[in-house]
Structure formats: C-alpha cells, structure tokens
C-alpha cells in the first residue's frame, strides 16, 4: 500500500537523522575523553622529566620535587598501617567488618552502600591491608578452569558506577561457588561511587578468592586517579585518613594481576595486546615494581651501563604492561602506536591471530572501550569487547553488558541499562540530552582555546570562512570531529555565508570575574585547570585544600616549565594576592578553580525551548 510505504520511508529517514546526531555526539564524547587521556600521559611524562632534571631547578627545586612524588616505596613492603589504633565511635552505624570476612560482612556492605552509607576509614584500611596480603600471593596471570565452575561471568569497566554493579549482582547473582566472576579492570574514576565499587569488589575477593578475580585496568593507577576523580572522592569521603587510604590503594592497584586465562583457551586483559606481547615474559616479571605509568622511569637517574641496562629492561617491561592495559583493536592488519590515547597500540587481526596461535588460545576478551550495546565482536569473532558501565557518557548513551562462559566456552551476552527516570525515554529525548551535554563540553574546549583561534585567523572583522574555521579548530583542538556538520550548533553564519566566530562564545562566561587577571592568563589557567589541579593536589600533602602563596607560585613555575609558556612572575603574584580572599597567606584552591569554571548562560533558555517543543499540545 503506497501510503504505508511513504510513512515508513519518512519515519526511517527521521530515525536515520537521529542516529546521525547520536553518532556525532558519541564522537564528541569519545574524542574529548581520549584527548584527556593523552594529556594525562603527557603530564606523567612531565613528572618523569622533572625527576630526571630536578637539579636544574632553582634552589627550591629539590624540596618541591621530592614533595611532588612520593618516595619510591616498594609496594611489596608493608607500610605501617595503624588501623588498629583508629577509634570507631559508638555513633557510627555503618558496617563493622570482622576479618576474615564472612557473608554477613559482604551483605552488610551491600545494604550499607545501597543506603548511601560510608564505610569507616578503619575498616577500609584493614580491608585494603588484607587485600594487599592476598594479592601478593597471586601470579601476574591467573589461570582458571571451568571444570570447577558451571559458568564464569566476565564484566568490563565499571568506573565507579555502583548502580551498574548492583544491577549485575541482582540479575546474575552475587559472587559464589556457583557464580564466579572476573572483573576486567577500571573499577574506579569518573563515577561518583568508585570507593564503594572497589570496596565491594575487594570484599568479595577476600571472601571468595577462588571465585572472584580482578584484572588491573589502566585506571588502577594513582596518577590517573589524580586526574579522573578517584583521589578526590577518597579525600572527600575520608578527610582524616584519606592520604593513608590512597597510599594503600596505590599498593593494592600495583599488585592486581594483569591477565586471566580460562581453560588455557581464553585470555582476558583490560586493554589489549601488541605485536611485542609475550605472555611468558609477563608471567615472570615482578608486576608491583611497574606501578604507575611513570614509576619505573623514576628509577633511572644514573648513566652507568648497568643502570642503562636495568633501565632498558624496565622500559621494556613497562611497555609490555602499558600495551596490555591501554591498547585498542583496529580493523586493518598490523600494529601501530595508539596516538588517540597516547599509550599502548592499535592491534590488527593478524596480531590477534598470531598471539592466540602462539599460546594455543581461541579468544581474547578485553574492555577499555565504551560500546553502545555494551559489547562488541571484532577480528572475525576472535576479540570481544565487554563494557559494564551503562549510560557512560550521558543518560541513555549506551547499554552495559556482561558475558557468561560455560564449559563449551561459547559466550552469552546479557545487557542492561540503569535508568534514573521512571518514564521510558524515547530515542529522541535521549539523543537530545546527550547531544546537549556533548556540545556543552565541546564549547568549553573552544572557549579554552579562543585566543589560539584569534591568533590563527588574524581577523578583526570577526568573520571567517567555514572552511578556515574548521581547519583552525582541527589544528588547535586536535579533535578529529566533523566540524562542518557540527557548525550549526556552534556558530552563526553571517548573511554572506561566512562564519561569525564570536558567536561560538557568546553564551559563555567565567564563573567569578577576577579583574586582576589578564584574559590570556585566565584562558591558560582555564585550559589547563585539570593539570594544575593535579599538581596542586600533589603539593597539598595534608590534603587540606589550602596552599601557601609560595607553593602556589612554585606550582605555577613548574607548570609553565611543562607548557613552555612564559607567564610573568609578577602577574602570578598579583593573581595569588587577589585570590587570597582572607588575606591570611593561604589560597583555597577549590575557590580558585571556581573562578575558572565556565558558565553557560543560555542553559536555562535552552531548557525552556525544549520543554515547549516536547509539550506542544495538538492544535488540530
């Protein structure tokens, strides 16, 4: 029937356009995310550089550097944990764990966390201490057999999403002899409940070490945690003992196994592999010695041939591990550096084939990449990506999934999506919400680079061709996005078809205006606020949120060395003095950062418009 066909074609077209928008939104989120990770690795290499060269700094240098990075303490050694001495007040109504843990303890933790309670620092420390003891006994690569279990469940990235973990436990069952689990890394960062997620995982690990298995992810790393939220979350929830807790986490993370093998046939790692990956070599190394991304490099300071040899060896080891934790699969054959992320490789189907063949394996299961359906096959079914954090970028952006393997080793996938709203959202609404969020993030990036843009276009007229605009954006932001297609959301066109680039920033402004701050300085500070925050957090040893003006000056000097940016010392001094609101010689860093948060003025207007469109009553 012709009418039906017509309507169907229209509808399909409408859905296709929606899908297009969803794609663009996804690209934006992913590009910004990976660019952030790249910045992270740059920051790490900066720290390495500083360590190697600290003697070249001014007189205050060495103190600051040794302050900057914790002394290289072997995580194998026992740190002093005085959890016994920590007093738990009568008023504390949360779980009181008793070791060795029992099912009562894990149940208590589950209900406590569902009720938004926080576990007392004393128990956190004890839990971590026990976990560390257990992990020391584990090999780098853990071998499992399905002859003992009916089915093994494998989960991917959780990133602090407690709701997703609870949903998995609800749907699939708690860890037990009948329901063994492998969690494939990235338990923390980004989500707001990283502490709760990782405590639950460790608790079950202690309860059932034979049925609960954890792989290390690239976010189980203290430098990553500084940037992506875990450190902050710990410090906020544990003001007194946060530092101690973080140090123990650092040890525990470095002791997590890096791979799991099932029945000698299925390899599970967080990121992927490279053409250099040697599983036998990986089994033999001392994994705890290769802790943070820059940790190993910090042991290289002498040029003697012995140290060079050791250094080369450490670098090689480090690279092997970085490959395991950071690599992504690609479609074409070969192995190339992962420039998107800044670490690890892109590995092709031939690399997968070769490794699987070499070790008699038949399947590689990995995580590390967000997938719309929660999972994805590639390399002719030889590689599975499994991702367990639903709505990762935005409400409705993706499903989460877990995979189950029985004796016959045939994967079965289970998908889910945590939903905050009770009303079922249409695809339109979800796409719109995600799109709005992505565009806001993108605009902030634009705002952060606007002076670069001005320099590139060198125009006073405020007009530029769309072509030029796109080219400049690509080179300045280093984000590979379809700029032309996104243009309508970002900038206005003048009647003659040229682009008014000021219109990009019209609706944006700084949070709190700081009159003493020159626009250039403000912009630089805004652009690098995450990096500055990280350096600051390292300096602020007692995590009080305050630093002295001198420390602030040092932070800035160090950082400009990193950036190669020349900022006037006196400008920094003025800035520091103006921020010292109490005039007591110390700066509240959170307040400082607030000044550089960007406010979107049109937010409320946008919302009104959307509500109007959604709620339009029929006129006919």
């Amino acid at each position: 029937m012709k009418a039906a066909v017509l309507i169907q074609r229209w509808y399909r077209r409408y859905m296709a356009r929606l899908e297009m928008r969803r794609r663009y939104t996804w690209n934006i989120f992913q590009s910004i995310e990976y660019a952030g990770e790249q910045d992270q690795l740059q920051l790490s290499s900066f720290f390495t550089f500083m360590l190697d060269n600290f003697t070249q700094l001014n007189g205050n240098g060495p103190d600051l550097i040794s302050q900057l990075l914790d002394p290289v303490v072997d995580p194998w050694l026992d740190r002093e944990t005085c959890y016994n001495l920590i007093h738990v007040p009568e008023s504390y109504t949360g779980p009181r764990l008793s070791f060795p843990l029992s099912v009562a303890d894990t149940n208590a933790l589950l209900s406590a966390f569902k009720d938004q309670q926080t576990l007392h620092a004393r128990y956190v420390l004890q839990l971590l201490y026990e976990t560390k003891k257990l992990l020391k006994q584990m090999p780098n690569i853990v071998h499992l057999s399905t002859s003992y279990y009916k089915e093994i469940t494998i989960c991917g990235d959780l990133h602090g999403r407690l709701d997703d973990l609870l949903l998995i436990f609800y749907k699939n069952g708690l860890p037990s002899a009948e329901t063994p689990y492998v969690f494939n890394g990235d338990f923390v960062d980004r989500g707001k409940k990283s502490v709760e997620v990782v405590i639950l995982l460790f608790a079950f690990l202690l309860l059932y070490p034979d049925y609960m298995h954890l792989n290390r992810g690239n976010h189980e790393d203290h430098i990553m945690n500084l940037r992506y939220g875990f450190t902050k979350e710990v410090m906020q929830k544990y003001k007194t003992h946060g530092r101690e807790i973080l140090q123990l986490f650092q040890d525990v993370f470095s002791l997590l196994p890096i791979a799991t093998v099932i029945d000698g046939k299925i390899l599970i790692v967080h990121g992927g592999i490279s053409d250099q990956t040697d599983l036998d070599f990986l089994s033999s190394i001392e994994r705890h010695k290769v802790s943070g991304i820059n940790h190993a490099a910090s042991t290289s300071s002498s040029s003697s041939s012995f140290f060079v040899l050791v250094n080369t060896f450490i670098c090689f080891t480090l690279e092997q591990i970085v490959d395991i934790l950071w690599s992504d699969p690609k479609i074409q054959d070969g192995c190339s550096p992962n420039t998107f992320r800044g670490g690890g490789c892109y590995f092709g189907p031939d690399v997968t084939q070769r490794l699987l063949l070499q070790h008699g394996l038949q399947l590689l299961i990995r995580s590390h990449e967000c997938k719309q359906e929660g999972y994805e096959f590639c390399h002719n079914g030889k590689v599975i990506t499994i991702f367990s954090a639903s709505n990762y970028y935005e409400e409705g952006s993706n499903r989460g999934a877990y995979v189950k393997l029985g004796r016959e080793l045939v994967p079965r996938f289970y998908q889910y999506q945590v939903s905050r709203t009770t009303r079922k959202l249409t695809l339109t609404q979800r796409v719109r919400a995600a799109e709005g969020s992505a565009l806001r993030a993108l605009k902030e990036k634009l705002f952060a680079h606007r002076s670069d843009f001005y320099i590139c276009t060198r125009l006073a007229s405020g007009r530029v061709s769309v072509c030029e605009w796109a080219l400049v954006l690509e080179s300045v932001l280093r984000l590979d996005l379809p700029w032309r297609t996104l243009r309508p959301h970002l900038a206005r066109l003048a009647p003659d078809g040229s682009l008014e680039y000021q219109s990009c920033f019209e609706d944006m402004g700084p949070g709190i205006p700081l009159p003493q701050v020159t626009p250039n300085l403000a912009e630089t500070l805004f652009r690098y606020r995450t990096d500055i925050e990280i350096i600051f957090n390292i300096i602020d040893k007692d995590h009080s949120g305050l630093i002295s003006i001198e420390e602030f000056r040092q932070t800035w000097r160090l950082f400009s060395a990193h950036l190669g940016v020349a900022i006037d010392d006196s400008a920094i001094d003025d800035l520091a003095r103006s921020i010292d609101f109490n005039k007591d010689g110390s700066i509240d860093f959170t307040e400082f950062l607030e000044a550089f948060r960007v406010v979107h003025k049109l937010d409320s207007k946008d919302q009104q418009l959307h509500e109007k469109m959604d709620g339009e009553k029929r006129t006919g």
Binding site: W10, M15, T485
Partner: protein
C-alpha cells in the same frame, strides 16, 4: 570569462558535495580506515536527504560492497553516491504527501490513528517495520493521555529539518 567562473562554480559545488559525503561517511567510519559497515548505508542515505526504499538500498549495497566482507570502502562509495546525487535517483518526498498518506490510513477521518491500527499498517504493509522500529515509533508519537496518534502533530517532527 563567464566560462571560467562557471567551471569555478562547478568546482566549488563539487567540493561542497564531496565534503558533505565525506562528513556523512566519516560519521560511521568508526575505525578511521575509510570503510563503513553496509548496515549503515541506509542511515547515510537518509541523512543526506534521500528517500530510497529498502529495495533501492539492497541494490546499491550489492553494487558497492567489498566482496561480501560486510564493508564498503570510500573508494567505491564516492563514485556510486556521486552518481546517485547527479541522477537524483531517490528524490525527497514532499511534506504534503506525508499528510495525505496518513489521511489515507485514517479511514474514518477522525484526525488520529489508534496504536493498533498504525502497528497493523506499519508492520504488515509496504516495507514492514521491525518490532523495535514499531516500539520506538509508538513511544515517540502516541499521545500520553488519549493513547492516540495525532498525526498532524507528528508530521512536524518528521519533517523538522536541521540545516546541515
């Protein structure tokens, strides 16, 4: 002189078309290797403003697919799409026709369709919807209170053009 500007104009136009096609293609080139999954061809077509039928899509796909690999390479996509553009193979359908189509289905001329009726038409006639497509359409367009689909209100959503 006039000829120069004409060919210059043609070049500009071609560049624009090229950029447009490239943009649409790249949105689905997830691995940045100049290939897209054939399943996405329909979406690409629609997003560029064409209205192929499912049969049209099948035919196009079979002509450009890379030896049954499930992928289409840019090198084959570009000439085929340019041809489609120049020959105007799948012209857009006028908005008014859409309203007429709905009115044809609304036999009693009530101004609305019941979900069961629309489902019947969409899943049994023409080029049938999948269950997922049907569910999404119903969720998106059914009036919450009256539980009817007031197609006159639906049409603006379907035809709402965002200038690309």
């Amino acid at each position: 002189m006039a000829e120069n500007s004409k060919s210059a104009e043609a070049t500009v136009l071609n560049t624009k078309i090229l950029k447009k096609l490239k943009g649409a293609f790249q949105a689905f080139d997830t691995k940045s290797d100049n290939t897209v999954d054939i399943k996405e061809i329909g979406t690409i077509f629609y997003s560029l403003g064409f209205f192929p039928t499912q049969a049209d899509l099948q035919k196009f796909t079979s002509e450009v697919e890379d030896e049954r690999s499930g992928y289409i390479h840019w090198d084959r996509f570009l000439p085929a799409m340019t041809k489609v553009l120049l020959e105007d193979k799948f012209p857009p359908i006028a908005d008014e026709l859409l309203l007429q189509a709905f009115e044809v289905l609304d036999i009693e001329k009530r101004g609305y369709l019941k979900p069961e009726e629309l489902t019947n038409y969409m899943t049994k006639e023409g080029e049938p919807f999948t269950q997922e497509e049907m569910d999404e359409m119903l969720t998106a367009f059914t009036d919450e209170e009256k539980k009817h689909i007031y197609y006159k209100d639906v049409i603006p959503h379907l035809t709402l053009e965002r200038k690309m």
